[in-house]
């Protein structure tokens, strides 16, 4: 595309330039807003408008994170939470997709199990807390299970509705070619659900964080959720804020990984 640049009309070049400027403005405002908020937060604690004991402040958060790092526990806690989240996320996505495929394959199975799925979806997973502790103990296993519980049903429902929405005319076309059910699945149903798969991943990432932090609130002795609960109990708001900020960064990073995956996968379809 770039090599055609000189073939563009003046008007189009102007259009491109305007777009670029526009984008730069948006980014400048985004970053500016963040800086402004941080500055305002910091100043209001310095000038005594807000009590840093209750609100913490950017500098105190940085110090806390620095201290955690020096203690050598920063990456330990991050690692624990990250591992639980990613493990739960991967299992929920893989199992959810497989179950959705099974439901697409067998009408009987789907019709029998659909009410169960609906009820499980409505159930607040936190209610499973005591059971999970009794079954899986108070370690990472319980947290991973909670993460799976929170994400699984959403993945199933999202993917199943995508599979079922496959264009009936395209199915008819494949059947007229003599395609087997497996061929219809592989050549049509799965590829046409790609964009639904990506949007499901975006939802599932959020679900995984909810699940793992919820799990850590319930049972854990390590991880970011644990730091937040512990910080709250001993009234160390700096610790609570620091862990929350780290969570924000991690959640955003995982989300952008999905977006990156989307770019790679969708690149070839042009649609």
């Amino acid at each position: 595309m770039k090599k055609d640049l000189k073939n563009y009309s003046k008007e189009h070049l102007l259009f491109l330039k305007k777009r670029k400027i526009n984008l730069a403005i948006v980014w400048a405002l985004r970053v500016g807003l963040l800086l402004f908020l941080l500055l305002f937060w910091e100043l209001s604690t310095r000038l005594g408008w807000a009590d840093p004991f209750l609100t913490s402040s950017p500098s105190r958060i940085l110090n806390t994170i620095g201290a955690l790092y020096q203690e050598g526990t920063l990456f330990y806690h991050i690692g624990v939470t990250l591992l639980e989240t990613v493990a739960g996320f991967l299992v929920a996505v893989a199992a959810g997709c497989l179950i959705a495929l099974a439901f697409w394959w067998s009408d009987l199975l789907r019709r029998v199990l659909e009410p169960y799925v609906v009820v499980l979806n409505a159930l607040p997973k936190i209610a499973l807390g005591p059971l999970i502790i009794i079954w899986f103990g108070t370690g990472s296993k319980a947290i991973v299970f909670m993460t799976i519980a929170v994400g699984l049903i959403v993945v199933i429902m999202h993917m199943l509705s995508a599979f079922l929405e496959t264009d009936p005319n395209k199915i008819l076309l494949l059947r007229s070619m003599g395609a087997s059910k497996l061929q219809i699945l592989r050549k049509l149903v799965i590829p046409s659900s790609l964009s639904a798969f990506i949007s499901m991943l975006k939802v599932a990432v959020g679900m995984a964080w909810i699940g793992s932090i919820m799990g850590e609130y319930l049972v854990s002795r390590a991880g970011l959720g644990y730091l937040i609960v512990y910080g709250g109990q001993v009234f160390k708001l700096d610790l609570v804020m620091s862990a929350t900020v780290i969570l924000c960064v991690l959640a955003a990073a995982m989300y952008f990984l999905v977006v990156l995956l989307e770019k790679i996968l969708v690149k070839n379809t042009d649609n």
């Binding site: 264009d167 005319n169 395209k170 008819l172 076309l173 494949l174 059947r175 007229s176 070619m177 003599g178 395609a179 061929q183 050549k187 049509l188 590829p191 046409s192 790609l194 070839n268 379809t269 042009d270 649609n271």
Partner: protein
């Protein structure tokens, strides 16, 4: 004596749904000979698409017999090209499904595409093509697995008028020069007259053959020329009356 490619013998088809049963065709009898181009017109909802599904063996008749010699190729109202495949990969689809993908069959599909003006679009995605080009690609895809009978379900009705005339002409030319047997469903009387060797008029649901007319434009097969022929309007009037009887 030409051979029979497709025949319906007293065919009845009932759809069963929770709300009740719908008889889509009854006492439906007709044949299509090898190399013949037959158009079927009928009131909307009378059972035309059902008839094609029966011909393709996707539905089993409740009564009567459907006979089809050889393989079928289906072409639908919309092109149904897979948007995530290039045109070339779309052309290979029936070959893949039938496990006939080989350097020879691929070459044959590509040769068809080149012959009928799709060469430069082989590496494009369907969304980059115009409606007419896409429908043409859909036809080449149908032809790629060398079916014996083409089943066309209103393949032009989603196109705008100008494109439609051109694509109709191209498709007719391609089908005739490949010597294929074709069964075309349409609700457009002039399309039927301009394309077919024979027109079958169906009744309201349940569909049955109401009338049958061999069309002879003194061997003229070009749809646009047929439209200029003086027999054209006479046929149109007759079929219009029969369709609205």
């Amino acid at each position: 004596m030409k051979e029979k490619m497709l025949s319906f013998d007293d065919v009845k088809l009932i759809y069963h749904t929770v709300r009740g049963e719908v008889t889509a065709t009854q006492n439906l009898t007709f044949t299509v000979d090898e190399g013949e181009f037959v158009a079927i017109i009928g009131p909307s909802g009378c059972g035309k698409s059902t008839l094609l599904s029966l011909a393709a063996g996707l539905l089993t008749p409740s009564e009567g017999k459907v006979f089809c010699r050889g393989t079928v190729g289906y072409m639908l109202q919309r092109d149904e090209l897979f948007p995530w495949r290039t045109i070339e990969k779309n052309l290979y689809l029936p070959l893949e499904v039938k496990k006939q993908l080989s350097p020879e069959t691929k070459e044959r599909a590509r040769a068809l595409a080149e012959k009928y003006g799709l060469k430069e679009f082989l590496q494009s995605y369907p969304s980059q093509l115009s409606g007419g080009m896409r429908q043409r690609a859909a036809l080449i895809r149908t032809l790629a697995s060398e079916p014996d009978v083409l089943l066309l379900d209103e393949p032009f009705s989603a196109l705008d008028y100008q494109t439609r005339l051109n694509v109709t002409r191209d498709v007719s030319m391609i089908i005739r020069s490949e010597g294929k047997t074709a069964l075309l469903i349409t609700h457009d009387i002039s399309e039927a007259i301009s394309l077919a060797d024979r027109v079958i008029v169906l009744t309201n649901r349940p569909a049955r053959v109401a009338h049958e007319h061999p069309l002879d434009f003194d061997g003229e097969t070009d749809p646009l020329r047929r439209r200029e022929n003086k027999q054209f309007s006479a046929w149109f009037e007759l079929l219009w009356k029969e369709l609205n009887a």
